[in-house]
């Protein structure tokens, strides 16, 4: 066993060396930081890290903080609708563009360009367009529709949908690009076969094509999930968490406590909770998608 392992290492020695930078980054930057922040979540750290131990006190405080609970709930709502709408819209766009439309590259560019803009820009510009005093509502009223109401950014019950609107605008082009790429890779034979059988196109897409695009779908959902879990800039630019705490999100809670409120202990407790949640949700996805059948590398 030992000799065999030595031989294995010797044969692949350069590969081990080549992966050292990655190992260093994972161990020091990622695992090290995670461990460090988990450690701090059990301390009473305020503005600067402290080395004491206060048990689960920060977690108790955290789940007793209504703003944190609101943030979690908001993230769930935003993530659900964001992923759903981005996915459906991205698929529809890709399928429609794939029908040999004219000016295909123009459409593709139009749907993809928001992804090139930063989240800050997405938040600022939609905040402006949805602002009742300046944007669509004011314009419609200017045309004489005095009863027209579009007050999402200022309405506590609708503000999350304003945020979702901006993020969908930003992200659905990415899904479109990925799905479109997938569609281009599908064998044309399928269409011939199904047409002979008289199966309607929508059913072919739903029950044959989409399942074939599973890797694309998973990858796009993973990329979108990364951005939604970290979502901070767009909310700050658009609503700064308001009205009240109606559009607060966990990343903003962490950021505010880390800096504005000088409460590192609570912030790291919050980020630990996020980390565990991500682990629980994402680990099975990542495992099944990227490792289960990676027979060649392992």
């Amino acid at each position: 066993m030992g000799a065999e392992f030595t031989r294995h290492v010797r044969r692949n020695l350069v590969a081990y060396i080549a992966l050292l930078p990655m190992a260093a980054v994972v161990i020091f930057a990622y695992l090290g930081t995670m461990a460090w922040s988990v450690r701090l979540s059990f301390s009473s750290s305020k503005l600067l890290p402290r080395n004491d131990f206060v048990g689960f006190a920060q977690y108790v405080t955290l789940f007793d903080t209504s703003r944190w609970l609101t943030s979690l709930g908001n993230l769930a709502v935003i993530a659900f609708f964001f992923l759903l709408i981005c996915f459906v819209l991205g698929c529809l766009l890709a399928i429609f563009i794939d029908q040999n439309v004219r000016a295909e590259s123009l459409f593709r560019t139009v749907f993809l360009y928001p992804y090139a803009m930063s989240f800050v820009v997405a938040g600022l510009i939609w905040q402006w367009i949805l602002n009742p005093d300046l944007g669509i509502q004011a314009t419609m009223r200017g045309f004489g529709f005095s009863g027209f109401v579009l007050d999402w950014v200022v309405n506590p019950r609708m503000v999350l949908y304003a945020v979702i609107l901006a993020t969908v605008w930003h992200g659905s082009g990415l899904v479109m690009a990925l799905i479109l790429a997938g569609l281009r890779g599908i064998d044309g034979e399928i269409w011939r076969a199904t047409r002979i059988d008289g199966i309607p196109a929508w059913r072919v897409y739903l029950s044959i094509v989409l399942p074939m695009l599973r890797p694309m779908i998973i990858t796009s959902l993973v990329l979108l999930s990364i951005s939604i879990v970290k979502m901070y800039d767009v909310v700050v630019a658009m609503t700064n968490g308001g009205p009240g705490t109606a559009s607060e999100v966990p990343a903003k809670f962490i950021m505010d406590n880390l800096f504005e409120r000088a409460n590192i202990g609570l912030a790291t407790a919050a980020s630990t909770v996020m980390l565990i949640t991500v682990l629980l949700v994402m680990a099975p996805v990542i495992y099944s998608q990227y490792f289960r059948k990676s027979g060649r590398a392992a």
């Binding site: 503005l47 200022v154 009240g244």
Partner: protein, 413 residues
């Protein structure tokens, strides 16, 4: 052309540096991190920069928009071992922990030379003095809870003189509403809602309730009928704010007064800058009310500069020169006139200040009316929770009892 000149200047400096000519009279470099990026603020900090440069220093400006971004940049630089010469903070507890960690230089030498114990108002001195040593140079006193009004709007609503009591104020709000004017201009942002609440607390509850709730965190005071009345009054103000207030910037709210579309606004004295820019005159176009009771407390907020730890003698020299210049009486008057605040010392010539600032100076001369800003009486995270409660109270149908419970929990920890 300008670029050309700059290039010449740069190459001259480079040449001088390379040849070592300028070595003997190299100016004292001082890098200052601050968040004063807007027009009026820039003009104000330019007063410091110019005075510092005139005194033989070289001001290196490092502006980062947004208070918390600028402060965390400063703290990261301190932790990273590459601190700036000076950094801006609010007159609060924001910097007390870095003092405790020994990361700031004290400025006792300059303070005792200039007799700060005598010239600074007590709440300000308390905020910058830790364990008997001065660690921060206060540069201004902002009173964050002035009540501003539009003369024309009040006229239109048939209000002949500005309110002097809370009852009159509430009655005036009704009159404004009846006249179709926005009674209360508010920007629906956490800190502005919190300012409004603080104004209700100081004007309904007075100095005593302010310090016993926020300072002593006294349970009896939190559960007292007076504090309950404060919350009820605050909630009763909701109908006087227009629908579009949500997310509005404070200066856009001030603009409503400038355009005579709104009657009152609770805002710090920096609002004056907006009125001045719009060429409005105190007394004729707009007015300021310091409080709604004869003994209304004057809340002392403001800004301070701190000086990160360094052993470099040149840097320490630069730090001390900065302190001297920033607190110099003449510089103080000039700076505060542009910033909208009032000078930190009582021994300055007030004649060049505007009427509102002079009124503020007069009220402040009575120590009984000086109270510290809420941020000086509690740690930042406590104050953060308090602001969360206030914004939820304002934006959700929270009951008074729930609010009181949450205040108690947040303040008592």
């Amino acid at each position: 052309m300008i670029a050309m000149k700059q290039m010449v200047a740069v190459s001259a400096i480079a040449l001088a540096a390379a040849t070592g000519i300028a070595r003997a009279e190299e100016p004292l470099n001082a890098e200052v991190i601050h968040w004063w990026t807007s027009g009026g603020e820039s003009a104000a900090i330019a007063v410091f920069a110019d005075a510092f440069n005139a005194a033989g220093g070289k001001w290196v400006d490092n502006a980062v928009a947004g208070g918390s971004a600028a402060r965390s940049a400063a703290i990261n630089r301190i932790i990273g071992g590459d601190p700036s010469t000076a950094a801006l903070f609010n007159t609060s507890r924001q910097y007390h922990e870095i003092i405790g960690e020994g990361l700031l230089n004290d400025i006792d030498a300059v303070a005792s030379k200039n007799d700060w114990d005598k010239v600074l108002p007590a709440p300000i001195a308390n905020a910058v003095k830790v364990d008997g040593k001065y660690y921060a140079a206060p540069v201004n006193i902002h009173m964050p809870l002035w009540i501003w009004y539009s003369v024309a709007a009040l006229d239109k609503a048939g209000i002949d003189k500005p309110p002097e009591t809370m009852e009159q104020f509430l009655a005036d709000l009704d009159k404004l509403k009846a006249a179709g004017i926005i009674p209360l201009a508010l920007g629906g942002q956490r800190w502005q809602e919190n300012s409004l609440f603080s104004a209700v607390l100081t004007n309904v509850g007075g100095a005593k309730l302010w310090t016993s709730v926020y300072g002593d965190k006294d349970e009896a005071a939190i559960r007292s009928p007076e504090f309950r009345k404060v919350i009820e009054t605050f909630v009763s103000l909701k109908p006087y704010v227009d629908q579009a207030s949500q997310g509005r910037n404070w200066n856009d709210a001030t603009a409503l007064l400038i355009k005579d579309e709104a009657g009152f606004q609770v805002m710090g004295d920096w609002a004056k800058g907006e009125f001045k820019q719009a060429n409005k005159e105190i007394g004729k176009d707009y007015g300021c009310i310091p409080g709604l009771r004869p003994d209304a407390p004057y809340v002392l907020g403001g800004d301070v500069f701190v000086f990160p730890k360094t052993d470099d003698a040149e840097q320490v020299k630069a730090q001390h020169l900065l302190v001297e210049i920033m607190t110099d009486p003449d510089v103080q008057v000039k700076f505060n006139n542009l910033k909208g605040s009032i000078p930190i010392r009582s021994d300055v010539d007030v004649s060049s200040l505007d009427a509102c600032a002079q009124l503020g100076m007069k009220i402040m001369s009575d120590p009984a009316r000086q109270v510290p800003d809420a941020s000086q009486m509690m740690e930042e995270f406590v104050y953060g929770s308090v602001q969360d409660i206030v914004t939820e109270l304002w934006n959700t149908p929270m009951t008074v009892d729930q609010a009181i419970d949450r205040f108690e929990k947040a303040l008592k920890g």
